[in-house]
Amino acid sequence: MKDPAKSLLSNLLNGQTGQILPWVAVMMVCMLGLAGLGIDTARVYVIHRQLQSATDAAALAGAQQMPDGDYSGIAKSFSSGAGNSNNSSSFIPKTAVVTPLCVKFLKDQGLPCNGPASANALQIQQTAAVPMLFASLLGFKSLDITATSTSAMRGSKTAAVQRRGHSRHNSIDGLLRYELRFGRNAAFLRG
């Protein structure tokens, strides 16, 4: 008795009619799958860029309020998410995580770690679930991406502010003038 599998293979290999159409049908599934994977990956890159932009803006905005202001609230208001300044409809972000940091090299440059959080920098981390378009057919419904941004608070040596008659951290105006006098000390780090 002839093996049906061998017979099918033999027909595929030796038959002279309809060879291309079945192969194209099989290859089309592979090609469309790869194309879909490429499109989904490109979307993830675009959305990651948007999330990184929002996170950078949040870190800069929050760091400006440090150390005594509402840095966490301001940072979140500039992050991505419903009702925030950098919201996007392309993805669903989770609430930004705000972490005050005491960065040593900033401290060495005269930026003390003080305020309620004993910090001289602010780190924002935001995660978003990117819904997949084509990969969802293979079971990957969404992909979590994360953007992290760190920004140093303004200011430098305390003496200069005292010379201007402002207390160290209770006046934004004082801090701004201080920044103008000593240049932009804020280091902007991206992680």
Binding site: L21, G38, A42, A54, A57, N86
Partner: protein
């Protein structure tokens, strides 16, 4: 020399010769009268001719979509750079004055997106609540660069997906970033 299965002579359905397979499939009289239609040479060419336009459209469409996503990524990155430029531009002249924020942002955006057509990038700003739509410079914009206020930069860029002259989709890509003025 063609050999004929002796049993197939009495029962044509058992004749598995290639010629007879075609006859069994189509069987109308015209195939019997016009033998040229029974020839199988060039079948692959015909099938390729059927498939090629579909494949070329698919490939061209994928290239077009890839370019669109590449441009969109560049536009998002450029707007981020432009917004950052505006955010830190306050009093950045050597004499302590503030330069034109829109012109500085336009330069930063176009430099950050070198493969985009500069003339087609439309920039709009909202500086401290004052809108400046479709501008490349705003003379009075520096007056609205106030620390603690917001600056919003929006860029749009048109893109039309073209597949062999057919234009199925005309996109107007848009990217926006809001920053706190430092």
């Amino acid at each position: 020399m063609k050999t004929i299965n002796p049993t197939a002579r009495n029962n044509p359905s058992e004749d598995r010769s290639p010629d007879n397979r075609v006859m069994l499939c189509f069987n109308p009289g015209v195939f019997r009268r016009l033998p040229c239609l029974r020839r199988q040479e060039g079948g692959s060419l015909v099938e390729f001719a059927l498939i090629a336009p579909l494949m070329l459209c698919l490939l061209t469409g994928l290239f077009g979509l890839g370019f669109a996503l590449c441009f969109y990524l560049q536009l998002n990155n450029a707007v981020d750079v432009g917004a950052r430029t505006v955010a830190v531009i306050r009093a950045s002249n050597s004499d302590g004055t503030t330069p034109d924020p829109c012109a500085a942002a336009y330069t930063a955006v176009t430099n950050a997106a070198p493969t985009l057509n500069k003339a087609q990038i439309k920039l709009s700003f909202n500086l401290n609540g004052t809108p400046y739509d479709n501008v490349t410079s705003c003379t009075n914009g520096s007056a609205n660069i106030i620390a603690g206020k917001t600056a919003q930069v929006t860029a749009t860029y048109p893109y039309t997906l073209v597949i062999f002259g057919w234009k199925p989709v005309a996109l107007n890509m848009s990217a926006q970033t809001t920053e706190l003025l430092q």
